[in-house]
């Protein structure tokens, strides 16, 4: 390890490390070429021809989310706030994934839509559809750019390559494997990437624990450090939410983070849902997020725990924490890698991180090209063209999105904060979307006008709360409400949800609903049971039955919540 004078991070990777990284990328490109051989029609390119088994899509489901923001962000949270970070997984993600599998997937898969915005169009018409498709497409471009930027900064930090070179090479690799193989290639890479990440982070965590003297040693050291006991408790999480009142803090976590933000993200984000749509049966589609929930609930142990370890093991972080100095918590996991991994494992770890960041970007782009070709181009620009035409548009969109992502990445490198705020802003689209979906799926009276009006007003409510908070939009925020940090996001999401529901109900009362016949497959009460269920579901053994698996997962996550409370 060499810490240069300007405190830049450098790993001294040797030839073996580089070889392991190169081996990974060679395999990634091979998958792209192999996948290409069987891409025959546009459904194949976009939804993998609905042919993948559930364990593959289940792992892809969590891998698509296990990108730069997750690994870097959650380990940084762990270093800064300690165990309260577990809420993102056990209060947030896992219950939301189970809800998606048990309640919402029958509608998505059963209605044979190709994207989440398409479901929106069939239920609420073009107003809500356009709002949803455009905001989603824009958000994907932006987030792809952020992923690409983070990727290039890590390449720069680890290997010393200049930013622009890292950007171009990474973009070229992502581009080639998506255009070659479509969603199949993206999903296969995500599954592969999952194993490489575990192979990288599990030894990192175990070695880190060993260095601090095992679990007992870690507990002692965290207690001795500033923050002490607070960091070893997950409730009430006042450090995480920056809400001083413990009761309000708990409400913020359960309702804002757990119910609204996480349910909104996991149930309506097409990047995730697309993976479940690539399966071959209703049961497999419902099992996708449920199977994913099992590894998901253990990921915090290899992502957050290394962050907590870094906070006591790495002098520059622990000193900054003790003296109130500044440190970039985002570097926690990289610093830990540099401190405990020998050459060899270091190469696996670099490959794993690069893989995660590229897969995150690939997931954004493959979701973008589906929404762009089906929901924007086919719907609003050129209708009724042959299949091959939309396939071609999808490929062009992929190239275009990658080029745009390079530019967003360059903007991100100059205006780092701006990007954070934009990302916060796009996060606000998910909360009202979830409200609109859930009301629209279970209340047949909800009208088309209510669809888009609810979305727009909910989003505006979130933006308003963010502006009134201390710092959700940085210096642009007014500071009228005493909310800051992640607590402000939770509150904004909660407000978006409540306003969306109120506006949707209010507007529905004064506008005309769609005829009930058009709502089959889209609304619970109007959908025949056969369409919502898999006719062969009763033939499946218990370990393939979605509700039973979900029950097991729920019990496990409750146990985890109780152990680490």
């Amino acid at each position: 390890m060499v810490l240069a004078a300007d405190d830049t991070l450098r790993l001294d990777a040797n030839a073996v490390d580089y070889a392991l990284v190169v081996a990974y990328f060679a395999v990634v490109l091979l998958i792209g070429f192999a996948a290409r051989r069987r891409v025959s029609d546009s459904l194949d390119f976009f939804l993998s021809g609905r042919s993948l088994p559930a364990w593959v899509t289940g792992l892809a489901f969590i891998s698509a989310n296990l990108g730069a923001v997750e690994i870097i962000g959650m380990s940084a949270n762990g270093a800064q706030f300690g165990m309260a970070t577990f809420h993102y997984f056990w209060i947030g993600a896992v219950p939301a994934m189970l809800f998606l599998g048990v309640v919402m997937m029958p509608f998505y898969y059963g209605s044979k839509v190709r994207s989440v915005p398409e479901f929106m169009r069939r239920r609420f018409g073009t107003g809500a559809h356009l709002v949803n498709a455009l905001s989603f497409a824009l958000a994907q471009l932006l987030i792809a750019g952020i992923n690409l930027y983070l990727l290039a900064t890590v390449v720069n930090a680890l290997l010393g390559w200049p930013l622009w070179l890292g950007l171009l090479i990474a973009a070229a690799i992502v581009l080639s494997y998506i255009t070659l193989g479509g969603l199949s290639a993206a999903i296969y890479n995500e599954v592969l990437q999952f194993f490489v990440i575990v192979a990288a982070l599990l030894p990192l965590t175990l070695l880190g624990l060993h260095r601090v003297g095992g679990i007992g040693g870690l507990i002692d050291k965290v207690q001795a450090a500033p923050g002490g006991d607070e960091q070893l408790k997950s409730w009430p999480g006042t450090g995480l939410t920056a809400i001083e009142n413990p009761v309000l803090s708990v409400i913020g976590i359960v309702f804002g983070l757990g119910f609204v933000l996480s349910f909104g993200y996991w149930t309506t984000n097409f990047v995730e849902v697309q993976r479940a749509m690539a399966t071959k049966s209703m049961s497999a589609a419902r099992s996708t997020p449920i199977i994913g929930s099992f590894p998901k609930m253990f990921i915090p142990f290899i992502v957050i725990v290394p962050g907590i370890i870094a906070a006591v093991l790495i002098p520059s972080i622990s000193e900054a924490k003790a003296t109130g100095g500044t440190v970039d918590y985002n570097n926690s996991i990289l610093m830990l890698m540099e401190a405990v991994l020998p050459n060899g494992l270091l190469g696996v770890a670099i490959a794993g991180l690069l893989a995660a960041f590229m897969a995150g970007m690939a997931a954004n782009i493959s979701a973008f090209n589906t929404v762009f070709s089906y929901d924007l181009w086919q719907q609003y620009v050129k209708k009724d063209k042959p299949d091959g035409y939309y396939l071609m548009i999808g490929r062009v969109a992929t190239v275009g999105a990658t080029v745009i992502a390079i530019f967003t990445a360059l903007i991100a490198s100059n205006y780092n904060n701006l990007m954070n705020y934009l990302q916060t802003l796009f996060g606000f689209f998910n909360a009202p979307l979830f409200a609109t979906f859930i009301v629209g799926m279970f209340w047949k009276r909800m009208t088309a006008t209510a669809g888009w009006a609810g979305l727009v007003s909910g989003t505006l409510a979130a933006v308003l709360v963010a502006f009134l908070s201390q710092d959700a939009f940085g210096s642009a925020s007014l500071g009228v409400l005493s909310l800051s940090g992640q607590g402000a996001s939770f509150a904004a999401a909660g407000a978006a949800f409540v306003v969306d529901v109120l506006v949707s109900v209010g507007v529905s009362m004064v506008t005309a609903p769609k005829p009930a016949a058009e709502l089959a497959g889209l609304v619970y009460s109007e959908t025949p049971k056969e369409q919502r269920t898999d006719p062969e579901a009763h033939l499946l053994p218990w370990y393939q039955s979605p509700p039973k698996l979900a029950g097991i997962s729920l019990v496990l996550v409750i146990i985890l919540n109780l152990i680490f409370r």
Binding site: L192, L207, L341, P342
Partner: protein, 113 residues
């Protein structure tokens, strides 16, 4: 990738008249996982056997981290290879139909998913 059009590694005849089972072979993601993790395992094991030095020991707290990680990765790779061998994915649609008609489970459903 769960089909094997013209794939040399597939074990059925290529001429399309077959009613024999095609397996996904190299197209199965499990092949790729077993291959890459296995390669990493072998490289790390060798690193652990020949390359372990004082610098590394200081970092890992006296564990031979490469060796142990490498061995575990090899075990994982072998497990995937066994799974692949015991429960291959059957992809030939003709074979699938035929098997369904005979009332036996098709190979792809036999893979636990």
């Amino acid at each position: 990738m769960s089909t094997a059009h013209g794939q040399a590694g597939a074990d059925g005849p290529e001429s399309g008249t077959s009613s024999q089972k095609h397996t996904a072979g190299a197209y199965d993601v499990r092949t790729v996982i077993a291959g890459l993790i296995g390669l990493y395992g072998i490289v790390l094991t060798i690193m652990g056997l020949v390359g372990d030095n004082a610098d590394d020991k200081a970092k890992t707290g006296d564990w031979n981290a490469n060796l142990w990680s490498g061995i575990v990765m090899i075990i994982v790779a072998v497990a995937f290879a066994l799974w692949l061998w015991l429960r291959p994915i059957v992809v030939d649609p003709v074979a699938l139909e035929k098997e369904k008609g005979e009332g036996t489970s098709d190979g792809s459903d036999a893979a636990p998913h």
